[in-house]
Amino acid sequence: MGPIKIEPARALEEALTTQRKLAAALTTLRSLDEVEFGVTEKEAIYREDKLVVYRFKGEKPPTAKVPILIVYALVNRPYMVDLQDDRSLVKNLLARGEDVYLIDWGYPDGADRWLTLDDYINGYIARSVDAVAKHAKVKKTNLLGICQGGAFSLCFAAMHPDKVQNLITMVTPVDFQTPENMLSSWVRNLDVDLFVNTLGNIPADLMNLCYLMLKPVRLNQQKYIGLVDILDDKVEMENFLRMEKWIFDSPDQAGEAFRQFIKDFYQGNKLVKGGLKIGAHDVSLRNVTMPVLNIFAEQDHLVPPSASRVLVDHVGTKDYTQIAFRGGHIGIYVSGRAQREVPSAIHDWLAARAR
């Protein structure tokens, strides 16, 4: 008995099906509109340079007294949390009565080349938090940090614990040097000073290239061969293209902030080893004393679970909750399971601490 048992008739059928799908694709693809994203109505409550803080508007007024401020990563656009009507973390949080704000970092250009992590965390984030608190008429806000934004939120919460009511981190790297962290391995020998001095701001295409190279065959080829299966389905194709747009719609990275992030976080692993300094502040996770909810994805190839779950060993809070989500780095926002599980988990956890 051999390992291959492909019936000729079935192989032929595969070929014919593919042909049929490709033929249908000629019609489907040309009928697609330009994909749109960001479905929930929102208003800008604060602007500074390229940064805008938005407040989302739900169908009914929020019942939560303390708002949530979402701090997204710099490396992608934040509309992933509100991608489309049936894939929106924001919409689902609003539906549960949360009051949701979000920082949109914009697209850095040459004028932002010299922004440091201090400018981002003790500057932009601090002023955004103040703006949200003022707008919502509260003293403290809940922070929801995602990926790199989660690392920033941890730093902010450690430096300004008086401004954060509860801290939620999603797919957030904490230990940047776990063995399966491929990105970390690659940048360990990078001469980041030479890199930033030469490139200035780090081009988004270069960042995307690195991400694609984490799983080159799957991301450069298999994904598109799989696309043939949905070529005749307009809705599915639009979903695919929406995601595709998000993946490649990436901002450049401000050079100085990138330099410091690679040196201190990836190469120095100072968030867990200690010695991290942002501006004039020493950052110690022991100062994160507010309640913490840490959500990570079990199949995350960008931020391996091991990089995230160690947070429990480093924070100073006695109220720490951890949720392992069955999915990947992106599925945690857009999969069907994510829509059911993640917003509820966040809402329930916050509600339990609002009593």
Partner: protein, 449 residues
Amino acid sequence: MADSPNPDWMNQWQAMSRQYMNAWQDMSRNGAHGQASPVAPVWPPQGFDQAARLFSVGGGQGETIERLVDSAKNYASFMQSMLATSMQGGAAPNWSDALRQGFASMGGNAPMFNPSAAQGWQGMAGQGGDGFARMMSAISAMKLPSNGGVDEIKSWFNLPAFGMGREHQEHQQKSVVAWIEYQEHMGRYNALMLKASQRGFELFEGKLSEREQPGRQIESLRALYDLWVDAAEEGYAEIALSQEFRDAYGAMVNAQMRVRSQVQQEVERVATDFGMPTRSEINSIGERLQALRREVRASGMNGALADEVAALREEFAAFKASAKRTQPVAAVKTMPAKPAAAGVASVKVVPIKPAAAAARKPAARTAKAATRARPKRASREAAAAPARANVRGGKKSDKRVEKAVAATASGNFASRIEKFATASLGTPRGKLKQAEAPVSPKKKKKSKR
């Protein structure tokens, strides 16, 4: 695969492929199920090219379509490669080679794993990226000796330079050496990619041998392909996480940055010769500006400015309300819409569009134009101002006016801050540091007033 322990499945594959090819040839002759096919048959890649041309006119999804077409094309080549082997007459076809070639056509080789190695890294946009690309294309014609001779070549370019042009010559020599080193590191990186590909195929063979039990056999072409992808990714991950790869990757990127840096320096030199601004100069200005912004924030000036603007807004609103009460409606409507940069009249428009409008026009020109073109408005405002000053009371109000004028003055950010600081604190810029020294909130408030 020549030493594969699975001759049975190869025979099966061969038999299946013959039947498939026969069926395919029949279908191609007659059309699918007797119907005319709307596109060229799937497997000849030309069909995909045709589709790509059609897709390219269909909206802004071009890149995705391109990737789809490329992938489908590779998939088709993979099928064709193996089917062609199955049709070989005579002795049993070499399935080991067929599978290797088939998956190589899918990209199971170094360039597939790293499309960047050949194009991506070299073509990456960035500061000096174009120059870099041009230089790469120009010098890529240089052939490096395969072994041994590289160090010899490098040593020639490390010879000291002399005389008038020694600096330039030395820079050019360094550029060539940087490029040679980059080629060396890129070669090492590509060799590891090839190793990853080979490792992937070894794992693929292992995975195939695990599928011999009934119920675990591969029953579709897609499943065969997916199994290969799993193996390829596993093989790649093993290599990509190794210390050897980490070293090679870092060295390759660092070497490329050195080449880019050399090119950028050369471009800057040429730009300077032509009297053009350079990236270094712009960087220097940007760095200083950002430092100044931090300094201003740290000094609390920004907050004070915001407070002053808010106070002026309130004052203006009050004044506007009182003006409505005391002046005819028509007179209010003729208030200038744009701020004049100098003179009392500008106070009235601070809340509308202060800095932006002032920055667009030079102060003198704006003031002049305002006086020349709208004498009536100017005199009306000039008349209104003293009245307000009387109401608000003497020097304090005058100072407020000075500060407002400073806040809306023309010039760059730094000079506006300086004017404002002078108006607010009554201190020249040189004494700003003293004024910024920590003061108690009460004192600070007092000094602001």
